[in-house]
């Protein structure tokens, strides 16, 4: 068993959570550094909330150790873990005013009255909500309520703040504004934050590090850039950003390049870090924005017919139907005077070899033969 690390705010060691026969989390190992902003990203049911609630102490692990700030907290009750939590539905006390809500954790800590007043006023200014101090939560908008619940957390300066889809109930515009506000608070206060979301954009915007969850396991973790540009699995590639995936079989490899034989032709790909052998199955990944429409028939391109083109403001997406019936998406920048959509035109969708990635085949799914 690893020794607790001094620079880690939270360490999970082999944490498993079972509900009867069902294993919601499979032996999770995770370490969060002090001051880090880590996001748990994953589809609904992947175990994000379970992991968060384990750290908060609201549920107990079936096995494994939870170390918070160097102390074994596996069996410590919630109210003695000294952390903060922001809930999706805000969980503000409906019978207390905004001021009383924020003062509550300070009263718990037995602070003198005038110090409570000073601190509450301070955070209310920080979130620019001083003018609603006397109101009840239900008299505030959703965004204001969430800011109050954030203030209620930061006012007692916990070493770690947990947030479970805190912006899920807000509309898109407000959500983006709050993302920046939370990021700003994190930068200013230096509090370690563990943030749960199923929204990839939110994760990419806010995090120092993203932990991608899939079926109770950590699929991949790393900086947002790494997850986006260097996904290690088909799941990661599909969950973050959109992707063109072409399955096939490795034909040959020499030097830094391997060739993947697919239904659409044989394509050279940079050799992945893991060892591969001819005959292995693999999946070619090219992001739509790394694809372009071309008429040159070079080896890193596929032929097809434009089935549809849609305008998404700054970018245009072309849906190219290939000979074998599969679809390739090409995303180009939109510019004034751009030639209009060339529907039904026969084109080639090409990419530069460096932008392609060879991924291992997804488990438990039989890909069509190459």
């Amino acid at each position: 068993m690893n020794a607790p690390s001094a620079s880690a705010m939270v360490q999970l060691q082999g944490v498993t959570k079972r509900y009867g026969e069902f294993e919601a989390l499979h032996s999770i190992d995770l370490s969060i550094a002090k001051g880090e902003f880590v996001t748990l990203l994953g589809p609904s049911g992947s175990g994000k909330s379970t992991l968060l609630n384990l750290i908060a102490g609201m549920i107990a692990p079936s096995s494994g150790r939870i170390i918070i700030d160097g102390r074994d907290a596996t069996t410590l009750p919630t109210n003695r873990r000294g952390l903060g939590m922001v809930f999706q539905n805000y969980a503000l006390m409906p019978h207390m005013t905004v001021f009383e809500n924020i003062a509550f954790p300070l009263q718990v800590r037995g602070l003198p009255k005038d110090e409570i007043r000073r601190k509450v006023t301070g955070v209310l200014d920080l979130i620019q909500l001083g003018h609603v101090a006397g109101r009840k939560p239900r008299e505030l908008s959703g965004g204001q309520q969430q800011r109050v619940s954030l203030a209620r957390c930061i006012v007692y300066n916990p070493a770690l703040i947990l947030m479970d889809e805190p912006l899920g109930a807000l509309d898109k515009k407000l959500r983006e504004q709050m993302q920046l506000e939370i990021k700003r608070l994190h930068a200013e206060l230096g509090i370690t934050m563990l943030y749960v979301t199923h929204d990839q954009d939110e994760a990419l915007t806010m995090s120092d590090r993203i932990v991608l969850m899939n079926g109770g396991r950590i699929e991949q973790q790393g900086q947002p850039d790494t997850l986006y540009f260097k996904p290690e699995t088909v799941f990661s590639a599909e969950f973050i950003g959109s992707s063109n995936l072409i399955p096939g079989e490795i034909a040959a490899g020499e030097g830094g390049t391997v060739t993947l034989k697919t239904a659409l032709g044989a394509f050279p790909v940079p050799a992945p870090d893991r060892p591969v052998r001819p005959g292995d199955r693999g999946v070619l990944l090219v992001r739509p924005e790394n694809m372009m429409l071309t008429d040159r028939a070079d080896p890193t391109s596929v032929a097809g017919r434009i089935e549809d083109s849609i305008l998404l403001g700054g970018v245009v997406r072309h849906f190219v139907r290939c000979a074998d019936g599969s679809m390739v998406i090409v995303q180009e920048l939109n510019q004034p005077g751009r030639a209009g959509a060339r529907r039904d035109e026969t084109v080639r969708a090409g990419w530069t070899m460096d932008h392609a990635r060879l991924l291992p085949p997804p488990p438990n799914t039989s890909l069509p033969a190459g």
Partner: protein, 286 residues
């Protein structure tokens, strides 16, 4: 389909549905409730001629005022005892998984399915001078202790809470079940211990249920008749017993009617207050 067309369409009777559906009960209520009530009111006011004399006498009658004070004392004591015993039970029920809670609720409702007479005699058998409790106390103390718990104030309250508790428990339970569990989790993460969470979160948020339960209990106990008659002493006469006394002992129907009307007015006032409590009888909190 709009909701209004669904509502009137369900009966298939069109615009006449309200009259057709409500007429039978209206007729019955008129016959067995409104007519006798009107008669009582009339009797209280008409004594050869129309006058408020009966009410004036009531207001100056030391017997009536003493009985009225008794009534409130007993009602409030019973209600408070019921609150103190009922709240923890409601909290326990709220913490149970739904299936188990349903099973426990059956036990809470059990007193309703027993005749009040049977219950009263059972209480005497348990709490009377020769009852189980006193026999046990006597045995343990070597005949030193015998607590008079029947045919006095204690007896009335014991008999009443039997009847009052389910209303108190259900009313508070409604508020507790409506309480968002995440509020308690939030308080816990902020470091609050169980006592603080109870006083600062659970109790304030269950107040609508408490107030509703208290008002229902007071309303119900103010009209108690059999329990004080069977389990109380001579000092424990309540207003309903006074009505009985006037009608059967002194045959003063005017005084009896005026007393009954006064009791009805007090109960009506309490019910009106109950209607104003947010969440009221439905027990929904916050």
């Amino acid at each position: 389909m709009t909701s209004s067309s669904t509502a009137s369409g369900a009966s298939g009777l069109g615009p006449w549905s309200a009259i057709v559906l409500l007429a039978p009960l209206t007729v019955l209520m008129f016959a067995i409730l409104l007519y006798p009530l009107g008669l009582t009111l009339w009797t209280s006011l008409y004594d050869g001629q129309l006058s408020l004399r009966a009410y004036a006498e009531l207001a100056s009658s030391t017997l009536f005022l003493k009985v009225l004070r008794n009534t409130f004392e007993i009602a409030i004591t019973g209600t408070l005892v019921s609150l103190v015993f009922g709240y923890p039970v409601a909290m326990h029920l709220a913490a149970q998984p739904p299936r188990r809670r349903t099973a426990c609720l059956v036990m809470v409702m059990l007193p309703f399915w027993t005749s009040i007479l049977v219950k009263s005699f059972a209480l005497v058998a348990v709490f009377g001078n020769q009852g189980l409790v006193n026999q046990l106390l006597g045995f343990l103390s070597g005949g030193q202790i015998n607590l008079p718990m029947m045919f006095n104030r204690v007896g009335v309250v014991l008999g009443m809470i039997n009847f009052l508790l389910p209303f108190m428990i259900l009313s508070i339970l409604g508020s507790l079940l409506a309480l968002d569990r995440r509020l308690i989790l939030a308080a816990e993460t902020m470091g609050a211990g169980p006592l603080r969470i109870f006083w600062k979160v659970i109790l304030p948020l269950s107040m609508p249920g408490v107030v509703a339960g208290v008002l229902i209990n007071v309303t119900l106990s103010i009209g108690m008749y059999i329990t004080p008659a069977l389990l109380g002493g001579r000092q424990d006469m309540m207003v309903a017993n006074l009505v009985d006394f006037y009608t059967r002992q002194t045959l003063d129907w005017t005084a009896a009617s005026a007393t009954a009307v006064a009791l009805l007015a007090i109960s009506g006032l309490l019910v009106a207050m109950l209607g104003r409590v947010r969440g009221g009888l439905s027990g929904g909190a916050a």
